[in-house]
Amino acid sequence: MNDVILDMRQIDKSFPGVHALDHVDFNVRRGEVHALMGENGAGKSTLMKVLTGIYKKDSGTIIFEGKEREFTTPKEAQDAGVIIVHQELNMINHLTVAQNIFIGREPKKGLFIDDEKMNKEAAKLFERLNIDINPKERMMNLTVGKQQMCEIAKAVSHDAKVIVFDEPTAALTDGEIRELFAIIRDLRSKGMGIVYISHRMNEIEEISDRVTVMRDGAYVGTVNTVDTNKDEIIHMMVGRVIYEDPKAESNVPKDAPVVLKVENLNAGRMVKDVSFELRKGEILGFSGLMGAGRTETARAIFGADPKDSGYIYINGRKVDIKSPEDAVANGIGYLSEDRRRYGIVVDKTVAENVTMATLENFVSGSFIDEEAERKEAEKYIEQLDIRTPSPHQKVANLSGGNQQKVVIAKWLARNCEILIFDEPTRGIDVGAKNEIYQLMNELVAQGKSIIMISSEITEILRMSDRIMVMCEGSITGELDICEATQESIMHAATLRE
């Protein structure tokens, strides 16, 4: 059993301001499935990127097949037999299955590509892996599951010795997951080392031999899957010291009126039958792992993306929100997780951004009343303590925290009663973070209601009065703040229906 094919020792990697990998140890044996787990930002992907040469490590050693190696490009890693099957598939839709598998190394007959030979080779490969796919089929006609199998076949055809699966089941149906697992077991029995990154606890229990947990860029520990259980793994994942006290109890009276009610909302693949209520003066936390569908839910409510079905009620009145315009007219404001793309117009001024949602209030006759606009901006610069030399400064020149305040000012100017804060403190330094928290508390004290989406559990516990947990597009838990713990949230976040 101690036949280690890949051994990563004391891998260290820093980015400006972040210690992404802190002397991490990780090894894979021949013929095992080794699960790599951790919260968002724990460092799993960074570690795999260091392995395959996308990032250069600062220190540490990688020993592959008994020799120290350092791959400088993914191609080099691939040639050596270390291959990642990505979450997003790298397939060209208009080519056939065989063409995709042999892309860049097509068998030639003189000047031309030998299609016949290529199809035969692909068919042989599929037979070996017990995959039932026609090599001549165009990639776009396959289901996501089948496409993924082509990706695996491609990896195997590269003579892979270590295959890394990054969240492979995220887009698969149960039947496809069965097939995938059969293939993974088959690869394992052939002596390959398999790294399996996933958040799905029950899959980990089913497929993996060992589990390594990472947290905040550091190695936490490795356990044999048979010797552990879900609770222990979750504890390893979240067991960090909490610097900020969580909120002890909800500040919202039980009989506070419901300002927003969402009923059976469906939108695309990522929002499935979502229902919840938001009460006046409440901060409703939305927790979950990356890709849980929280942002998609917010965007569907706000009218930024189309809804498939479902109802939205504001103050008990059914509303039909088809566009952000409708949402804003109904008193909803949305702070996007991606501030620079969706929140602000960076090369316009603070004043122009602050009045973006309320410009009609600053138009007299046909002209913009620049004086009134400047006054409005100055009001919020003072109220929110936005650090800018003047209202006419370009927002691009402000820090992340101050840019976020400009977006908040935009919605306050609009006097929105319902605010959706999507990752409000992402990319913001600690000091500005606390200011944003304080501001949110002031807003709910004034009777506004906030939905806060956050991937940081500590932030969720500190700010929320009530917590909704989402997993793969569905609501998988509703917790009152007095009963919520990191563990209980993580339980719900890794629950798969």
Partner: protein
């Protein structure tokens, strides 16, 4: 250099624009040196005549480029306007004033269709304007049975419209067109910088999604930019025939490039969000002087095409380059 950039007046007008003005003056002197006729008032008026219709085209397309779009149909649409309204005037005998209104309407309708396709159907402006360019050329041809249309000369009945370009009564010549162009440019600058229309056009050119998520009906404002542009194209048609009277079907493409060259040279960013009406006007003057000067120096028109092409490439390169530096 840094010292000059820091003078208050230079800052207010913009260093780049002053460079352009300097280039314009320098060009004039170079042309005057090689071709002394350039010093004559008539020659200047002739160069100016070219700048009027080109100016209206460029002003219009400034709005479109400010949204991050592009329009390759303006030249042919201008010709379609002039052909259709001119045919109605000279062959069908419709009243002149009505025909002038129709000219503007034709431009407006093309602009509205273009804007609708871009804003509401999310088709790339490059594609829609290519399609409309073909349609405009074809429509002009079909309407006039593939014949050129000659608007009346000054001395003929209905010839007074030419006074819009240049008022002459034997002894004096007044460039009325220049006054009109500058007044319209001033109005455009006001719209772009002081009104809600301009604010939204510039903001959506910069970051359309952020403006949409602020609850603004971005489609409406995006379409409006094309409608403004189309209207100005219709006006440009009047000033084209006012200067040259004859229009042929199936042409007009070259003016797209000249107008876009003038706009980009004037400091309007091809990626949208930044626009300068003053810069556009200076750019138009440079292109107009260039075309007159090249002919005066005895070169053929082909050289002008090459130089205009080079100007577009240089201006776009500088635009991209300065964007990269910013990021």
């Amino acid at each position: 250099m840094e010292k000059i950039k820091n003078i208050a007046l230079v800052k207010k007008i913009g260093f780049n624009k002053l460079v352009l003005v300097f280039v314009l003056i320098l060009m004039y002197f170079v042309f005057a040196l090689f071709s002394p006729t350039f010093i004559s008032y008539d020659r200047i008026l002739s160069a100016l005549s070219y700048s009027y219709f080109l100016g209206f085209l460029a002003l219009g397309v400034t709005f479109v480029i400010a949204t991050g779009g592009i329009d390759f149909s303006i030249g042919p649409v201008m010709f379609a306007s002039a052909l259709i309204s001119g045919y109605l005037l000279t062959r069908s005998g419709w009243p002149l004033v009505l025909c002038l209104v129709i000219s503007v309407l034709v431009g407006l309708i093309f602009g509205a269709i273009n804007g609708y396709l871009v804003a509401y159907w999310d088709v790339a402006p490059f594609i829609t304007s290519m399609g409309l360019m073909q349609i405009a050329k074809g429509a002009g041809s079909v309407f006039t049975h593939t014949q050129s249309v000659s608007w009346p000369q000054s001395s003929e009945a209905n010839g007074w419209y030419r006074n819009l370009v240049r008022y002459s009564n034997g002894s004096i010549s007044i460039p009325v067109g220049l006054i009109t162009l500058l007044v319209v440019a001033f109005i455009c600058a006001i719209i772009l910088n002081k009104t809600k229309i301009g604010r939204y056009i510039l903001c959506l050119g910069s970051n359309k999604e952020a403006v949409r998520l602020s609850g603004v009906n971005v489609r409406k404002w995006q379409m409006l930019a094309y409608v403004i542009s189309g209207t100005l194209v219709g006006i440009a048609a009047i000033f084209f025939v006012g200067a040259y009277t004859t229009v042929q079907p199936g042409l007009g493409d070259q003016y797209n490039n000249e107008a876009i060259a003038a706009v980009v040279m004037g400091g309007t960013s091809m990626s949208g969000g930044v626009a300068s009406i003053g810069g556009t006007i200076i750019g138009v003057m440079i292109i107009s002087l260039l075309q007159e000067g090249i002919l005066a120096l005895g070169f053929t028109k082909d050289f002008q095409l090459i130089i205009t092409g080079l100007i577009v490439l240089t201006a776009v390169y500088l635009d991209v380059f300065s964007n990269q530096k910013k990021n």
